[in-house]
């Protein structure tokens, strides 16, 4: 990492809502110019963390520094330099797209030309459409346009692609990559692993208000010990297989099972699968499903918490 001061520095950041500890003392350093991802299931504390960094929620404890400034002293200067897209903000329904962007532009002393931003987010054709007529993807691009129009140094995106179709998602990724390519820093929360793997240099995986893993997506996946995952299921009523038997198969690094479904982590699936078939044959058990994929952050979360990201 470079010696430039970090874009964001948090120390022992904490927030509690009544009886619930939303954020439980976390430390984060986000280097300038990179995209940093906060990953985790709903309720993990991602949004609270981001909103404390954005100066929208006052922390109960700890420190936040953004671009070397802090909220108590430099709030206005900080707001001039950051762009924000909150989770599910519904902007004024009966304003035109261009009117909304112009409104946000007026708040910043310096920034982009409104028409230029319309092109960046590819909303030129919808320039004069009312916000209420926009699709989900177009609304998100408008939200990002409002975040970009003040020419920020740092961009905060809270679940920017949740609920979008793959094409809209890719369009948004392009916009974020463009911003990064001009040297901007991005903080992104998501529960899509694919998104984090594509956009982020570093990710922090959060669960129950704590950071449970921190590193580059590649490093984190590598920490699983192998980069392939084999999932299979047995027919109803089949006797369960002892984990020790599976672990003894050649090249298997880890075994996990949940009812009739088994997950193996392995470096070389082409060695494991034939041996697995022989073992099942010998026991007279039928397989009903077999999948293999490259290990992802999703698998990392599963191995760290025993839970899937999306159904927690």
């Amino acid at each position: 990492m470079s010696s430039a001061p970090p874009a964001i520095r948090c120390r022992s950041l904490a927030k509690r809502y009544k009886d619930v500890i939303a954020v439980d003392g976390i430390d984060l350093d986000v280097p300038s110019g990179e995209c940093f991802g906060l990953l985790g299931p709903n309720g993990a504390g991602k949004t609270t963390t981001v909103e404390m960094i954005e100066g929208l929620v006052a922390p109960d404890g700890g420190e936040v520094e953004v671009l070397g400034l802090c909220w108590e002293r430099d709030a206005i200067a900080l707001r001039e330099r950051m762009g924000v897209a909150l989770q599910e903000t519904r902007l004024a329904e009966r304003l035109k797209v261009v009117e909304v962007i112009r409104l946000f532009r007026s708040f910043y002393s310096e920034g982009h030309d409104v028409e230029e931003i319309l092109d960046v987010v590819e909303l030129g054709e919808k320039r004069d459409a009312w916000v209420e007529k926009l699709s989900g993807g177009q609304r998100q691009r408008l939200a990002i346009a409002c975040a970009l129009v003040g020419n920020p140094d740092i961009l905060f995106l809270d679940e920017p692609t949740t609920g979008l179709d793959p094409q809209s998602r890719r369009q948004l990724w392009d916009v974020i990559e463009q911003f990064k390519s001009r040297g901007g820093t991005v903080v992104l929360t998501t529960h899509y692993m694919e998104e984090a793997e594509r956009l982020c240099e570093h990710v922090a995986v959060m669960d129950h208000g704590k950071v449970i893993a921190l590193g580059s997506p590649r490093e984190l996946i590598a920490s699983l010990g192998a980069d392939h995952v084999i999932e299979f299921a047995l027919g109803d009523g089949a006797p369960s297989l002892p984990e020790s038997v599976l672990a003894a198969l050649p090249g298997v690094e880890a075994v996990r099972h949940d009812g009739p479904r088994y997950t193996l982590t392995a470096a070389e699936p082409h060695c494991v699968i034939p041996a697995l078939m022989v073992e099942l044959e010998r026991r007279g058990v039928a397989m009903t499903e077999l999948l293999t994929h490259q290990a992802s952050l999703e698998d990392l979360f599963l191995s760290l918490t025993g839970r899937h990201l999306r159904d927690t």
């Binding site: 903000t89 519904r90 304003l95 708040f107």
Partner: protein, 349 residues
Amino acid sequence: MSGSLRRYLDPLRELTLARFREQLRQPEVLFWVFAFPVLLALALGLAFRNRPAETIHVAVESGPGAEALLDDLQATGGFAASVVSPEVAQEELRTGQVALVVVPGDSLVYRFDPTRSDSRLARLATDNALQRAEGREDVRVTRDRLVTQRGARYIDFLIPGLLGLNLMSTGMWGCGYSVVDARRRKLMKRLLASPMRRSQYLLSFISARLILLLPEVVVLLGFAAAVFGVPVRGSVLSLGVVALLGAMCFAGMGLLTASRAQTAEAVSGLMNLVMLPMWVLSGVFFSSSRFPAAMQPFIRALPLTALNDALRGVMIEGASLGALAVPLAICALWGGASFALALRVFRWH
């Protein structure tokens, strides 16, 4: 204009425009602001128009001499009288079909409800007609000279009240509802994450009200002048100042009412709680002097009462602003205090 002032006013102008556009683009808002008060004025103006002197409805109980009394009344004119059985007469009086029952006999008996003003009028007119028919002579010569004056009719009383009512409703709803809506959609939170100042946000509600105020006043008063010939006796400038102060007062109260509420239901309930007593007490449809004396200090202190008094002062009596200092001060106090309190307790998230 200095740079920093422009930096302050640019966002204020854009916020104001945004608010103004949003309102104009909602047909229901236009209806409540412009069409509703006009329709209300039209309906009430027609219902309570001054009618030619009314026919007096009288029942004569059947019995000896009843027919003669009927003849006397009919000969006088202005009466709709009939001879009916005592039971029917009683029923007609009870249900208000007649104002008075005449019971024939050696001494005439008038049966009526003294709390009904039309009955008291009918008693006087009937007695007068019957006494004259029996030969009473008036001791002095009198003549009637009839005048019906603009400015003294019900509609002239009503229009300033409706204007006050409208300034209250649009001020309260226009500011209060938008605040809660922005809070609910997290738009307010998003705005706060930008360098926008909180004062710009709150002032934009006031300035958007100002833009809407002029057409609002002109439409209602123009309609009243064109259709009912309702005059504005005082200066237009005075009227403008009173309307402006009223609008500001209720914009402040709207912001205060909405300063904590998080849902549309909560703010609607609060709005009604604030406005309903003034609908009834503040002399919109009838004079607030009809309420008991003990309530008057309270009623006088309500902002809508003060605004209505000031509007009537300008429109009906042609009063100068100096003469209206007390009601204007009451409005200013309510508005200023509400705005200051709203700033302190406002929930920004």
